[in-house]
Amino acid sequence: MKLKALPSMSRSDWCRIPEQALPQEGSGKMASLDRVKVLVLGDSGVGKSSLVHLLCQNQVLGNPSWTVGCSVDVRVHDYKEGTPEEKAYYIELWDVGGSVGSASSVKSTRAVFYNSVNGIILVHDLTNKKSSQNLYRWSLEALNRDLVPTGVLVTNGDYDREQFADNQIPLLVIGTKLDQIHETKRHEVLTRTAFLAEDFIAEEINLDCTNPRYLAAGSSNAVKLSRFFDKVIEKRYFLRESNQIPGFPDRKRFGGGPLKNLHYD
């Protein structure tokens, strides 16, 4: 799957619109918050729109309909909540619709949304094994798009563990429709998803988008989500000066602990 050369006036030139250039409306409080961009990817019908609605508006989506193109929602997240360095950030959740087997013209159009992404949430349906398998193709589609500036080539469309080890963008795997899994099958399904999350070197959350109690404040899911968003913000704003750090493939296992301390004092 070779990457095409972009024309001279490339997308990446004008896609990174600085935050200050956005139309300023309302109180100055709004303009002063920084933002990060997180993609929400997955097959159609897994529940991405319901998930994004739940995350941003703390309400269950009443009438989910088919997403055409991309729908965005914004969540205000407190980075390092509870510490003196607490700061609020805007997290833009870009819910990209479509299926992984779409025509290449649709894929090229989708690619315009994958620019300058700071984090990716991969959503799959716990009742549908194919949607979990398709996550590999989804992540490749998004990551290839973003690796263009550093010139990394991908030889074929298959899953490659090396690529995920080098990956700089934090990933999170969310499984939906947990309520539709019968008690007896739960263990088997959860084991399978644990392997999946390990392949992506990511945390995983399993929930039901029609029930807000799974993400209630203080639950382990909410803690994982908060940690993921913190990691995304860190990668974007605090580790930028040091750029890529090669040769540290196992730093994620330590939860980024020693590396965090290097940059805050």
């Binding site: 619109i17 109180s27 055409v68 965005v72 914004v74």
Partner: protein
């Protein structure tokens, strides 16, 4: 004894067709979805198997394979089973799956699907009234009644698809109709799309911040005073929520715009790919074929008009006519009986194979375009229904392409249908479909360039 041998041959071939339908279903149609209801797959494969068996029996008729009485028996049995499936089973399951998708009616699924099936039967029966398809001496529950109605629906479908296909094929193949799309056009449209997304984001940020401040204020109020504090916070936040509804309306409009831009950009990318494809060798070959097909299409429309205007239905089939021409005008002598059998076998075989292949490809494209994980079951069953009806009416129409001595079995089994009516009906619908596709494509082609050349 020979009957047993013949039956076992037929059953083996049926099992083969069933396996082929099963594989096609798994590999092509459902390759992105998970099959949870095996009933759907079984029904699809069974419909496919019995339809192909009908064609197989026609071929056997021409070649003279198997015993003539066992052929007749299998024809009847096959026809009964197919009608059973098309009129009873598939519509019932379609109703059942539609009802299962609606959450409200989930409890009484069976009841509502029976109701749906009864409605379908009523309309299906009423369909036969305006058409002069039967001689009045048949009873109510005879095969002829069912076949005639299935035939009408199937022939309409065939003619619609043929008409559209005949016009669309040259339009797609020929590069004369391709709009000129440059990279700058695409980039300009993408930039508009991203700007719209940014506008949506900034409005959503306002809404998110407003909700957050409301939530925090609400919390401060609720803690000291219980009941009255809550009432006060509700009335105090009223203007805030009004503001939110205004912004929400603006966001809705912008989201609609972003969807439009997305679809237009995808369309431009598709056109660009087609332009690149047309420059390759394969593309040039298809371009040439396109010219050829456009001539064929014009000829077919012309013939359909002639048939309708002069009220003529072809009496002889192409094989016999071809042989007549070669014998009379070209003076070539050969054994007419022997050659007519083989030539009609080849001709009918080609017609059958291309129509099956064409239908399966069209069904697959259609399925990819409109299905989602919720509706995939219903759509596959609809496609199975269309496929069954299409094949049944192909058998009706193929009768015209065969020499007289081979038509007998179809005429015998299907009873006294007015076959001429079906050919006339096919010509009318074909003409209507072809002309309206020309009009539709012309309008779509005219309207598209103006959208993209705007600054």
């Amino acid at each position: 004894m020979s009957f047993l041998i013949d039956s076992s041959i037929m059953i083996t071939s049926q099992i083969l067709f069933f396996g082929f339908g099963w594989l096609f279903f798994m590999r092509q149609l459902f390759k992105d979805y998970e099959v949870r209801q095996y009933v759907v797959q079984v029904i699809f494969s069974v419909t496919f198997a019995f339809s192909c068996t009908m064609f197989e029996l026609i071929i056997f008729e021409i070649l003279g394979v198997l015993n003539s009485s066992s052929r007749y028996f299998h024809w009847k049995m096959n026809l009964c089973v197919i009608l059973l499936i098309l009129v009873f089973m598939v519509p019932f399951y379609i109703g059942y799956f539609i009802v299962s998708n609606i959450r409200l009616l989930h409890k009484q699924r069976l009841l509502f699907s029976c109701l749906l099936w009864l409605t379908f039967m009523y309309f299906f029966w009423k369909l036969g009234d305006p058409f002069p398809i039967l001689s009045p001496k048949h009873g109510i529950l005879s095969i002829e009644q069912l076949i005639s109605r299935v035939g009408v629906i199937g022939v309409t479908l065939m003619a619609l698809l043929s008409g559209f296909g005949a016009v669309n094929c040259p339009y797609t193949y020929m590069s004369y109709f391709l709009r000129n799309v440059t990279d700058t056009d695409i980039l300009a449209l993408e930039r508009r799309l991203l700007q719209t997304m940014d506008m949506i984001i900034s409005k959503k940020k306002r809404m998110a911040m407003a909700r957050r401040t409301m939530f925090q204020k609400g919390e401060v109020h609720n803690r000291p005073s219980g009941f009255w504090g809550m009432i006060k916070s509700v009335t105090a936040s009223a203007p805030g929520s009004e503001n939110l509804t205004l912004i929400q309306q603006e966001v809705d409009a912008l989201e609609e715009l972003s969807r439009q831009l997305f679809l237009e950009t995808a369309d431009l990318y598709a056109t660009k790919e087609r332009i690149e494809y047309s420059k390759t060798f394969k593309g040039k070959y298809f371009n040439f074929l396109g010219y050829f097909f456009s001539i064929y299409c014009v000829w077919k429309i012309f013939m359909a008009t002639i048939n309708i205007v002069f009220d003529r239905v072809g009496k002889t089939d192409p094989v016999t006519r071809g042989i007549e021409i070669t014998v009379n005008y070209l003076g070539i002598q050969f054994d007419v009986k022997f050659w007519s059998q083989h030539i009609s076998f080849i001709l009918v075989g080609i017609i059958i194979v291309t129509s099956i292949r064409g239908l399966l490809i069209t069904l697959t494209k259609f399925f990819y375009a409109i299905s989602s994980s919720k509706s995939s079951n219903v759509i596959v069953l609809l496609l199975a229904q269309i496929m069954g009806m299409y094949f049944v009416s192909s058998v009706l129409l193929i009768r015209m392409s065969m020499p007289v001595e081979y038509r007998t079995i179809i005429t015998e089994v299907l009873g006294e249908l007015q076959f001429n009516f079906y050919h006339r009906w096919f010509d009318v619908i074909f003409l209507v479909s072809a002309l309206s596709s020309i009009l539709f494509l012309y309008l779509a082609h005219k309207q598209a360039p103006e959208k993209h050349m705007a600054p």
